[in-house]
């Protein structure tokens, strides 16, 4: 019977798998400090965090969805569309709104509601209709963006109610509010996935949906909830971004989703579901933010930036592959 005892070291190691990117972050910090004295200043690092705050919410959303074994590309379009439509519902027609005259403070709840509604629709098609999540959310990426372009006619909305600007531009206790919000949500995500039954249910569903069902987890309901949560987080990311930029451009969020996936996957979240942690995803976001910051500080030519960037993603991927020890899929 002695042979049956699993060797404990292995397990301990597994815990550290979330943190394979920590050495990469340290290297980036050292390299950055070396390349530019400004880099390690509090101001610059705060900027990096603020810049990553809204995209990090998308990474959080995508990590939850990926862990549950699904996929959502449409999040990036929600970042622009949800605040844009919410704002148009509130502002007068003269400022480019629908002229419904809804009260200004409603704008954030409306925005989150729109995000949630997109999640409901995605969930409906993917879970109830059992369509391919990749293609459904790809089509939704296009549609949701169109639903912003259509009503705004591609114009930037810049007469915004004060309430939607506040979160993305305020400073709390000396740090941008967006950083606090992202930090709280990530902490909630880490705790929720680590210590809540619902959070653990995501792992169970992503790991083996049939087994989860047999264990009494209401798989469809949980998945649907995750899509709704994802849409809501994307809308909140849109609110933060709107506040940071002071207006809603027609391209807000466009092109983010690739970075979101890259951050989640190099952070150890599996595209196959059931594996990865929110903490890991967070390290992925930080790596990408630091790389961007260093490239900017060094003024690497815009033509060659993508190459450097892509190579760093590959290297991070290789590192997490070697540290993780298992083939990826």
């Amino acid at each position: 019977m002695t042979t049956l005892t699993a060797p404990p070291p292995r397990v301990r190691l597994a815990r550290f798998r979330d943190l394979t990117l920590v050495p990469v972050i340290l290297i980036l910090l050292v390299v950055g400090a070396f390349l530019d004295p400004i880099f390690l200043s509090v101001g610059n690092l705060t900027n990096v965090l603020q810049q990553q705050a809204s995209i990090s919410l998308l990474v959080l959303a995508e990590a939850l969805i990926l862990i549950a074994g699904k996929f959502d590309l449409s999040l990036e379009s929600t970042v622009g569309m949800a605040p844009a439509i919410a704002v148009m519902l509130v502002i007068p027609a003269s400022a480019g709104g629908f002229g419904l005259g809804l009260p200004g403070p409603l704008v954030i709840p409306l925005c989150l509601l729109i995000g949630a509604a997109i999640g409901v629709f995605n969930g409906f098609l993917i879970i109830k209709f059992q369509l391919s999540a990749f293609i459904v959310t790809l089509a939704m990426l296009i549609i949701v963006h169109g639903l912003q372009l259509g009503p705004t006619e591609g114009k930037t909305l810049f007469e915004l109610p004060e309430s939607i600007l506040y979160l993305g531009s305020a400073t709390w206790f000396g740090l941008p509010a967006a950083i606090w919000i992202a930090a709280v949500l990530f902490a909630a995500g880490i705790a929720g996935l680590g210590y809540l039954r619902l959070g653990r249910a995501l792992y169970a569903i992503g790991g083996n949906a049939d087994a989860a069902r047999a264990a009494g987890i209401r798989v469809d309901r949980v998945l649907w909830g995750v899509f709704i949560l994802g849409g809501t987080l994307a809308a909140l990311a849109g609110v933060l971004e709107t506040g940071r930029l002071g207006a809603i451009g027609s391209n807000q969020g466009v092109g983010w989703i690739f970075m979101v996936f890259a951050a989640a996957v190099i952070g150890g979240v599996s595209m196959d579901g059931g594996k990865g942690t929110i903490l890991g995803a967070l390290t992925g976001v930080l790596v990408i933010g630091l790389v961007q910051n260093i490239l900017t500080l060094k003024g690497v030519s815009g033509f060659w930036q993508p190459v450097v960037y892509g190579c760093i993603i590959l290297i991070a991927l290789i590192i997490s592959r070697i540290a993780g020890g298992k083939a990826q899929d």
């Binding site: 019977m1 042979t3 049956l4 005892t5 699993a6 404990p8 292995r10 397990v11 597994a14 705790a191 680590g194 210590y195 809540l196 039954r197 653990r200 249910a201 792992y203 169970a204 790991g207 083996n208 049939d210 087994a211 989860a212 069902r213 047999a214 264990a215 009494g216 987890i217 209401r218 059931g274 594996k275």
Partner: protein, 483 residues
């Protein structure tokens, strides 16, 4: 009654299990046993009919906890989630009544549970790192932990070796003494006689009989399952093998699996490979066909020294292979019977890389006939076949090229009596045609067709046992009790 599209999986089938007994459910592959299990455990809704527990109507489908207090189940398909720890798997979806999960308490509870049921597994290990037996024990412990007085075990022994099965049975007997009712599904009829009091037989989606085990002779049971009189499989006698060596290995080693193994198989000879769990027998067989590249040593197939770790070279030299796990390595579920059967000989079905569908079809029809595969035809996807028939397709693939040497691993796992006979018969047929075979199995019955059995222990061949062994002798060697 339960339908899946056009398939009627259960048709007016019923089963009544008395309290405190261990009730066997037997039937051929695809008879509807697992479907009945999923209805009895509240995973699926019957199209017609109802389930009663102690005379009371079953709870609503959505109320999983109520179901699990009435009936616990070890399903045929693993319900372990590999990426989670053993502790969490044990308490899946009930890690805590409400509020935050206290992992320390959970681990402690898990250790308690594991020690209550004498399962020696580390509660913190990832379930994916456990071996088959350990996983099964975890499933059993979990099933029992709900306090249900009725437990269903769907083919729990299909992937366990002898000692593990003995340990399982000891556990089941202890449970029965505590008054627990059990339903036990297996294709090993001797196990039914060993552990069960009554037996229900399903055939073609219907119940054909229920009888106390004690008054039911073995032949009659088999006849009820198959619908015809079937004699138990008798190993054929062969003359002493003195043909050429068709498969040999010299001082083959693979770190962590086996060391310096020598082996040679002659034409017309079946060589068995036996050993308890982790003895390295499967690793050895897989290395022979090239699935692993050995650290040292050579493999010679039919006179050709094949490149180590090169499956196509080994197959090309005249080897046929039946892998350990048919679902993982045996067949491509979406492809047809014909295509799966002819994968290794695709190059022979046409010139210039072209595969002629007509020739493939005719070859497939021949294979279907030879192995008596029950299928709608050569174009049916293998994924739609029942377990036993899928295994026959895997055999067909191994035999399609008239191999000089055959390597067969656990050929009868999870297949019914009738299929088992056909499969063992197919091995013997091939050997009579002049092939040599290596047969790896955890089942002593299978090993009876071997001319000699090589017993492995901790990665080494410890004994060459000639035909005529008794179960007891062989098990003793396998357990390393007697050298």
């Amino acid at each position: 009654m339960k339908r899946f599209g056009p398939t009627v999986a259960l048709n007016g089938a019923g089963i009544t299990i008395a309290e405190g007994e261990t009730h066997a459910l037997v039937g051929r592959n695809g008879a509807g046993k697992s479907t009945l299990v999923s209805i009895l455990t509240g995973l699926q809704r019957p199209d017609e009919g109802e389930v009663l527990f102690s005379g009371e109507a079953a709870p609503a489908l959505a109320d999983r906890d109520a179901w699990r207090q009435r009936v616990a189940c070890v399903y045929q398909k693993s319900t372990i989630i590999p990426a989670l720890t053993v502790a969490e798997n044990l308490f899946l979806n009930r890690q805590t009544a409400n509020g935050l999960i206290n992992w320390r308490t959970l681990r402690a509870k898990a250790r308690d549970l594991l020690s209550t049921y004498e399962v020696d597994v580390d509660a913190e290990a990832l379930a994916g790192d456990l071996n088959v037996e350990q996983r099964q024990l975890v499933e059993i412990a979990r099933a029992l932990s709900f306090g249900a007085r009725f437990i269903i075990l769907d083919e729990p022994t299909a992937r366990l070796d002898g000692p593990a099965i003995e340990r399982l049975f000891a556990r089941m007997r202890a449970l029965r003494e505590q008054g627990v009712t059990m339903m036990y599904i297996s294709h090993h009829l001797d196990e039914v006689y060993e552990i069960c009091q009554s037996v229900t037989v399903f055939r073609d989606a219907r119940r054909v009989m229920t009888r106390p085990v004690a008054e039911l002779p073995h032949d009659e049971l088999v006849a009820a399952m198959t619908g015809e009189a079937t004699a138990a499989y008798e190993a054929r006698t062969r003359g002493a093998a003195n043909g050429t060596v068709v498969l040999s290995a010299e001082s083959l080693s693979l770190a962590g699996r086996f060391q310096t193994v020598d082996l040679s198989v002659r034409a017309g000879e079946v060589v068995g490979l036996a050993g308890s769990g982790s003895s390295g027998k499967v690793g050895l067989a897989e290395t022979l066909v090239g699935l692993h590249r050995p650290d040292s040593g050579t493999v010679t197939v039919n006179g050709t020294r094949v490149r180590p770790g090169d499956v196509p070279a080994a197959l090309g030299a005249g080897l046929g292979f039946v892998p350990e796990d048919r679902n993982r390595e045996g067949f491509v579920p979406l492809l047809s019977v014909g295509e799966n059967g002819t994968l290794p000989i695709a190059r022979k079905l046409g010139r210039y890389g072209v595969v002629s569908p007509a020739r493939r079809r005719s070859k497939a029809v021949q294979l279907i006939k030879e192995l008596d595969i029950k299928t709608e035809g050569p174009d049916q996807p293998v994924g739609d076949l029942s377990g036993g028939n899928a295994q026959k397709v895997v055999f067909a693939r191994a035999l399609v090229d008239n191999p000089a040497a055959l390597v067969v691993i656990n050929p009868t796992a999870g297949v019914d009596v009738k299929a088992k006979q056909a499969l063992l018969g197919a091995v013997e047929d091939a050997v009579e045609r002049g092939a040599g075979a290596v047969l790896v199995s955890d089942e002593l019955d299978d090993l009876r067709i071997c001319d000699r059995v090589l017993v492995m222990f901790h990665g080494r061949v410890v004994k060459d046992v000639p035909r005529g062994w008794t179960d007891h002798e062989l098990v003793a060697v396998m357990e390393g009790i007697e050298e």
